[in-house]
Symmetry: C2
Subunit: 142 residues, 2 copies
DNA sequence: CCCAACTTAGTTGTGCACAACCGAATGGTG
DNA sequence: CACCATTCGGTTGTGCACAACTAAGTTGGG
């Protein structure tokens, strides 16, 4: 089992390094719009799902309020989102994308092709990678 | 190409989420020793390679001095490492593991088995994942 | 030899992540 | 109704990441 030991260690480091490398690939495309990668993820959820509570954003992105609250405050300052108290449950806060927040979807555009090219992986390999990552995360975050 | 678009996006998010899930798996094993995951990575390099310059640590872990300098300062405060100016090139700083730093290798022990179990991936799948992550990162960080 | 270009490590400032905690709102139970 | 555990969003404090900059040391070309 000697290889396994080294391999597992490397997997964890590879994940850590690959994740940072990917966000570095996004950076030059997001920077011109004043966005960070986590902010972009939040906007993607809003573009796809419309107004969303802070709770649901946290569940989707697996981030807690300690991370989301200041991030949302920055997006609000930039005018991309609007906060609104929930009506029937006043504990909740609903995040609405504003017109400028929605416009960003077109402005940022489709980053897919450039990133697929950057990795050099085939569509088949991307599918495999997606499958393995889902499984790896499956038991870890039930 | 509709699937490709969604897939690529998901890959990047999956990497991001999987990486955080993995460090979360390490946390309970490292916390008792007062270590964070990046600190553990630094120590692993020192355990494996012996005294190492800050430059080489950065190259190996793909972290810059802005990240490493304060991290190493904390490891030094904890008594796990010692800094020493390079002799023939006084710009360099060589990081030496101390006795307590080396002892941590035994204290932390082998986290492999528990983490392999946590993911539920087979050895074969781990090998695939390792391969794909290397390739994905390959062109991104030449 | 001398100086300009480069390398190395460190500092500063911003923005995540996450643990720990807080107060307000909610909802079930006696 | 009164009580209390739970949920929700926010704040605080610590530790990465990374861009931009600095200062000290090194090196090669004139």
């Amino acid at each position: 089992m000697r290889e396994s030991t080294a391999l597992d260690q490397m997997i964890c480091f590879q994940l850590y390094a690959a994740s940072r490398a990917m966000t570095a690939l996004y950076r030059p495309h997001l920077d011109p719009h004043g966005l960070t990668y986590p902010q972009y993820l939040v906007l993607r959820v809003l573009w796809h799902d419309g107004p969303t509570t802070v709770r649901d954003l946290g569940r989707t992105l697996r981030l807690d309020s300690g991370t989301l609250s200041p991030l949302l405050k920055r997006l609000e300052t930039q005018g991309h989102i609007r906060r609104e108290r929930g009506t029937h449950d006043e504990r909740t806060v609903v995040i609405h994308p504003t017109a400028t927040g929605l416009a960003l979807q077109q402005a940022v555009g489709d980053l897919t092709q450039q990133l697929v090219c950057a990795t050099g992986l085939t569509l088949d390999e991307l599918t495999q990678l997606h499958h393995l990552l889902s499984r790896a995360r499956g038991r870890a975050t039930p």
